[in-house]
């Protein structure tokens, strides 16, 4: 499939990712991986089979190297409000 010919504007890339697994980077050090089923012009999205990854930096005394904790959880079906979205990455293609 010749993908580049079908993409004229950024949202075309998201349309071609419908029913495929996408990676979504969000504000607040959050990242989602899920199957994209719906979106709109605000980048509100509905994803299924979602894994959320949150990076948490625990407070440490000064001079100590801060450690980063990663919290993961699974959600069956999720609406994501578009104002938190930083980027959407389509599935990896051959």
């Amino acid at each position: 499939m010749q993908v580049s010919g079908e993409i004229q504007e950024p949202f075309d890339l998201i349309r071609l990712s419908l029913s495929e697994r996408v990676m979504v980077k969000l504000r607040g050090d959050r990242q989602l991986s899920g199957v994209l089923h719906a979106y709109d012009g605000h980048m509100n999205m509905i994803l299924s089979d979602v894994e959320e990854t949150v990076m948490i930096v625990d407070p440490v005394p000064e001079g100590v190297k801060p450690s980063i904790r990663v919290a993961k959880r699974q959600i069956e079906m999720l609406y994501v409000r578009g104002d938190g979205v930083i980027l959407v990455s389509p599935p990896q293609r051959e």
């Binding site: 504000r27 607040g28 050090d29 104002d83 938190g84």
Partner: protein, 98 residues
Amino acid sequence: MATLHTLVDKRVLLVMQDGRVIMGNLVGWDQRSNIVLADCVERRFSQESGATDSALGVYMVKGDQICLVGEVDAAIEEATSWSEIKVDPLPAVRYGDA
């Protein structure tokens, strides 16, 4: 907004974007969810001294500062000794740095 009219004349609890809790009788509201409250009190939560109320009178609260509007169940409200409830205030809404 198809959703606030059922709360008019009721005692409501507002959670603000900065985490404050304000209670009052809902007098009116508009399209932007600006809200007018009568007999208003602010309920301050504290880990040390428990929750305390301070009277504010009539307030107009700007819609964009509101996080949530809840209907207060009078029976539960009256049966609760709020001064014995020792918790931190609610966190503020954060839109995230990056």
